[in-house]
Symmetry: C2
Subunit: 330 residues, 2 copies
């Protein structure tokens, strides 16, 4: 089996490449070759088979065709200009998130016009395809009313994925990821950054800023769960999806207060005291329009699994990031 990961240098893409390299197979079929692509050269995990890492801009003419020319059996399309940047740079957002995605889909179609070819294509969408007005509990049949250009581009990607799949051009499956917490790494300027940093920094004895109230509720899964979603999406029988080719992934609906209480139970009062409350009206306003809870029964029935408590999410972070970092250093 040949695998292509586009967006392999990102946090999720790196974990996915490592997991595939370690497993060595998908659906019981051995992996012969992996191609890791991103706007920068992705790092290569240890892998006994053939592995390439390439820097490529999907929105450049010919880039998608070059990636697909080797006819991979399984394509992960994780690459995107993120929300804030797509909002600030209209042209770049549409160029990468819409034109780049369409160029990939078209490249697969062109390959199939030469001789039969129908790869599995896993596309990452986002819960930001949903915007106001939103019910407290959001089902898979909620209409897509994105409030950002990024959400618009992801919603268009979902529509294209469904149409190309319906026509038998590829076997597509889209997964709407929850907000990922705890994101490893350094604090960033994303409005959602505090959802990770208020746990991540205190766990290593550093201070973190909380810009919203404890009652703010949102929808979460760990990086490990996100990786599991991708691996599962690569393997499941897609015949039951019908026209609804994109699925909201399961997650945990939790408040900031729930997060802090879980931190207290895992790491004690000393950790929670490192959270400094610094209300920020701008961030609070952005967050106010975000979804709070989803009905993910469809994904669960298909076998997708996420954490069920924030203590579990914190323990996953400790195991995957802090303990493995210690052992890597050792």
């Amino acid at each position: 089996m040949d695998i292509l990961i586009i967006g392999a240098a990102g946090m999720i893409g790196r974990k996915l490449a490592r997991a595939l390299a370690t497993a060595g197979k998908v659906s019981g079929r051995p992996i012969r070759r992996m191609v890791l692509a991103d706007i920068v050269v992705p790092e290569k995990p240890d892998f006994p088979g053939e592995i390439d890492a390439v820097a490529i801009d999907l929105s450049n003419p010919g880039a998608a065709a070059a990636l697909v020319a080797s006819r991979p059996d399984l394509i992960f399309h994780l690459a995107a200009v993120v929300s804030g940047e797509a909002e600030a740079d209209f042209d770049k957002g549409y160029s990468v998130n819409l034109d780049g995605t369409r160029a990939l889909f078209e490249a697969v179609r062109r390959e199939g016009m030469q001789r039969p070819y129908m790869p599995r294509l896993v596309f990452t969408s986002s819960i930001v395809v949903f915007g106001e007005p939103l019910p407290p509990m959001i089902s898979d049949t909620q209409c897509l009313t994105p409030l950002t250009s990024y959400g618009t581009q992801k919603a268009i990607g979902e529509l294209l994925l469904a149409d190309y799949s319906r026509r038998g051009i590829f076997d597509g499956i889209g997964i709407r990821l929850p907000t990922i917490s705890i994101r490893p790494g350094k604090p960033n300027k994303a409005a959602s950054g505090f959802f990770s940093s208020i746990l991540r920094e205190p766990l290593i004895g550093e201070e973190a800023v909380l810009p919203v109230s404890d009652t703010v509720r949102h929808w979460f899964a760990s990086p490990r769960a996100a990786n599991g979603f991708l691996l599962h999406a690569a393997e499941i029988d897609t015949r039951s999806l019908g026209q609804l080719r994109t699925i909201t992934m399961p997650g945990l609906s939790a408040t900031v207060g729930d997060q802090i209480e879980a931190l207290r139970r895992v790491a004690g009062d000393a950790a929670t005291r490192l959270i400094r409350r610094e209300p920020n009206a701008t961030i609070a306003n952005i967050i106010a329009g975000w979804p709070q809870n989803f009905d993910a029964r469809r994904a669960e029935a298909l076998g997708f699994r996420a954490e069920t408590s924030f203590e579990e999410i914190i323990r996953v972070h400790i195991e995957d990031e802090l303990e493995s970092a210690v052992s890597e250093r050792a």
Copy 2:
């Protein structure tokens, strides 16, 4: 006021151009100039002001920019490759319905980057943005699950319209038209053609074929109502639309039996006897997935109006097509 109609050679576009030329104003502002564009040169109605008719392919590079260069205050975008053709010719459907629409939207944005410009833009979508699974009554917050490439392209147009409007690039409003009945003209090969022909042909003493059962239910408005929707969309205050920039137009939910009964009341048994039942499983299967009824309260609250009985729809056809044709010949 300067007006641009793209798709002005189609049935709806011709009626719209005539109506605007006759009214001579929109929202009380006199029309100074009209540009009628289509893939073939549209016919020009009598109009005392400036009027141009141009043949242009919106999907050609530079075509949209050329149309928008005169900075029309009001743009109607009605042009589309229709459902059957977009399904048969993948490239043409995406090229005209997606790329053409996006080229128009981008042309407006580029004009606005030179100096302030924000026209009203009226976009025609379709109820085929909705596909299975569908509830018996479909609201404006139903999720878009098109079953055709045409429906996918219209759904993407709706998403782009919302994003460009949210960003203040234009003042967009999308209207999802019901199936138009009675379409004037000759029978065509569209699966929906019989919804018009079983009334239109008997009204002039000709036979028509009915390929489905009398119990088939669907959603209708007359060409006159469709024209009214467009004129109203050009005039209403769009501030109340929020992020839901596209609205399902009101219509009449009726069965084929309702249509035939209305024909009997208007034109007698002699007319209904001209309907020949010739069941066609292919057409019946296509129609089975189509929407049957909509909750159009949102459109009605905004002042959009359609017919409330098929007798009314038949009388509209007689007034607008048969009597006016007689008087035109006289």
